[in-house]
């Protein structure tokens, strides 16, 4: 199993010297307000941004020294922008996930197609396999991209808001799926309760810095939510699972009277 370590990873002003470790087989969540640097951090890890400082290592190998193809064999992600202009079918799109494992002129073998079918079944898209990808709903597209990451057969899965566009049922399904893959996972999540329920540990980002990290119970505290998000919240153990669950105090009509900023 694979371990991800960030040593002082920086990108311009948006990410400042982040240190972070994802132990083998762990699922680690990144939380923090909009613009806190979650996406920048993830992009530096999966390689669409070149860090301006520090290193990200996978089992000791510098991810940037690996180059795109070697990196793609070990790190998979679900990118935010995806094709809508041209009509690849869902199956064709998912099959592209095999690319890092092939010479560029090679076609797909029976083994590749079997992996594609298995991944489609796993995300519940078997019936839509021959549909043009652009005709899918946002949630279906997201699941297709997750299936593509699965056939990539990665050691590390890096997901930026994987529950975006999904209804609650599919949010739970995707996160449960991620945990059963046996991969090491780093996820950015908006939903604090999902983060608390599905992640082994959480790191909190604020204005480009990692401000704290720990188990969900250690991190998700009223004091932290007040300090980082500027919200008033209670945290109680989930009645059935015991995972920390955040209950927000609604902001009264007319908005916040005094800003903490």
């Amino acid at each position: 199993m694979t371990e991800l370590r960030l040593h002082g990873l920086s990108y311009e002003e948006r990410l400042r010297s982040a240190d972070l470790t994802v132990h083998p087989g762990e699922t680690v969540g990144l939380i923090g307000p909009n613009g806190s640097g979650k996406t920048t951090l993830l992009r530096c890890v999966y390689g669409t941004l070149t860090p301006t400082g520090g290193r990200a290592t996978l089992d000791g190998d510098d991810l940037h020294a690996l180059g795109p193809k070697a990196r793609a064999r070990r790190v998979a992600t679900v990118p935010q922008d995806s094709a809508t202009e041209f009509e690849l079918t869902v199956r064709e799109l998912v099959a592209l996930g095999r690319s890092p494992h092939k010479r560029f002129w090679e076609g797909d073998t029976g083994d590749d197609l079997a992996r594609v079918d298995a991944a489609l079944a796993r995300v519940g898209l078997t019936d839509l396999a021959d549909r043009p990808y652009p005709t899918l709903s946002g949630g279906e597209r997201q699941r297709a991209l997750v299936a593509r990451a699965l056939v990539q057969d990665p050691a590390l899965l890096v997901l930026d808001e994987p529950t975006n566009h999904l209804d609650i049922r599919h949010q739970l399904d995707v996160l449960a799926l991620v945990r059963t893959l046996g991969t090491t996972n780093l996820l950015a999540l908006h939903d604090l309760n999902l983060a608390g329920a599905y992640c082994d540990r959480l790191y909190v980002l604020e204005r480009g810095r990692v401000v704290t990290g720990g188990t969900p119970a250690e991190v998700l505290t009223p004091a932290l939510l007040e300090a980082v998000y500027g919200v008033d919240a209670e945290v109680i153990p989930h009645p059935r699972t015991g995972s920390p669950t955040v209950l927000f105090q609604p902001v009264p009509a007319g908005g916040q009277k005094s800003s903490t900023m």
């Binding site: 064999r73 079918t89 076609g107």
Partner: protein, 356 residues
């Protein structure tokens, strides 16, 4: 599952969809048949009508020396073959450019590459580099330089600010195209070429009238090479369809790959333009029709686009020779007459969720 059960209306009858192997074979066979028929018609029709039987006799070598045989074998056949090569080449380049810039409005003519090639070729003509060598190698070399320059220019103009919309791309292409095409005409006039206006027309609208057996080899070789390389690159081209970020996270060095394919696309366009002038819109229409027929993956798309482009240009040239016979209309006039409205239709019919 539940998704389809709830929304049955969204499931079109796609059992025989573009990805189906039988459908692919059918499309290719149909195109080959249509191309064969078009070739026969193009050999038989023109200012002199030749009975189909005599055309076949000439082709199979059963005919003795006769004016018909000369017309078929030495006048019309090279012209038809050049039409096939240029049509296929422009269509393949169009398909690839559309993937590179992720926009179905891309086409060697609309992006100014053809005009760049024309201007480069004219410059070589006017300056008169290398006497006899001019026609065979210096002309395509000049065209290549012009094509590459135009492509880099348009791409840089359209991409300024990080994003590239289709509107910006087409506007930049049209502007660069006009400038370079005007430059080519100016060069011809200033140099006092004897048939300057006819030449200017040829370079800006295209024509297959200069086809001879000895000018066919280079375009045919470059087409074969280009299609071969691009077919081998089908997978990375497919990756580009998923966007820059998508291609990168699937292991493609997008910047390097794109630069390489741009150079190859310029080379193919330049050689085609050097042989036929700047014929427009074939590279726009053929790939689009091919995508409707067999889907977007390039291993299926490129051969079908090539056949479609060949068929389109052979038919257009047949029209160009016959519509005002014995006058030759520049073939680009006919492709523009069909391609222009097609472009307007494309611009109106945007798929949901995409900006022009």
């Amino acid at each position: 599952m539940t998704t389809t059960a709830v929304r049955p209306a969204r499931t079109p009858v796609r059992a025989q969809g573009p990805a189906h192997p039988a459908r692919y074979a059918l499309v290719v066979a149909g195109l080959l048949l249509a191309l064969a028929a078009a070739v026969l018609a193009a050999l038989a029709l023109g200012s002199v009508r030749i009975p189909p039987g005599q055309v076949l006799d000439a082709l199979t070598g059963r005919a003795g020396p006769s004016p018909y045989r000369t017309i078929v074998l030495d006048v019309r056949l090279p012209r038809v073959l050049l039409g096939i090569v240029v049509g296929a080449g422009l269509a393949v380049v169009g398909a690839v450019l559309q993937a590179l810039v992720r926009n179905r409005l891309a086409d060697p003519f609309l992006l100014g590459i053809s005009s760049g090639a024309s201007a480069g070729a004219v410059l070589v003509l006017v300056v008169g580099v290398g006497g006899g060598v001019t026609t065979t190698l210096a002309l395509p070399a000049g065209a290549f330089a012009g094509a590459l320059l135009a492509l880099v220019l348009v791409y840089a103009l359209a991409r300024r600010g990080g994003t590239m919309t289709g509107a910006r791309l087409v506007l930049a292409g049209v502007a660069v195209s006009y400038i370079l095409s005007a430059l080519a005409t100016l060069l011809l006039v200033v140099a006092g070429r004897p048939e300057q206006f006819q030449e200017a027309l040829y370079w800006s609208l295209g024509g297959l009238g200069s086809a001879r057996w000895d000018t066919l080899a280079l375009p045919a070789a470059v087409l074969t090479l280009g299609v071969g390389v691009l077919l081998a690159l089908a997978r990375p081209l497919d990756l580009l369809l998923t966007g820059e970020e998508g291609a990168t996270v699937l292991g493609l060095d997008t910047a390097r790959f794109r630069a390489g394919v741009f150079v190859l696309a310029s080379l193919v366009t330049a050689v085609m333009v050097a042989a036929s002038g700047a014929v427009g819109f074939v590279g726009l229409m053929a790939p689009h029709a091919a995508r409707l027929a067999v889907g977007a993956p390039h291993r299926r798309l490129l051969p079908v686009a090539a056949l479609g482009g060949a068929l389109a240009l052979v038919l257009a040239d047949l029209g160009a020779r016959t519509v005002a016979a014995p006058q030759d209309v520049p073939v680009g006039v006919l492709t523009a007459l069909t391609g222009g409205p097609f472009l307007l239709w494309l611009m109106r019919r945007r798929p949901e969720g995409t900006a022009l």
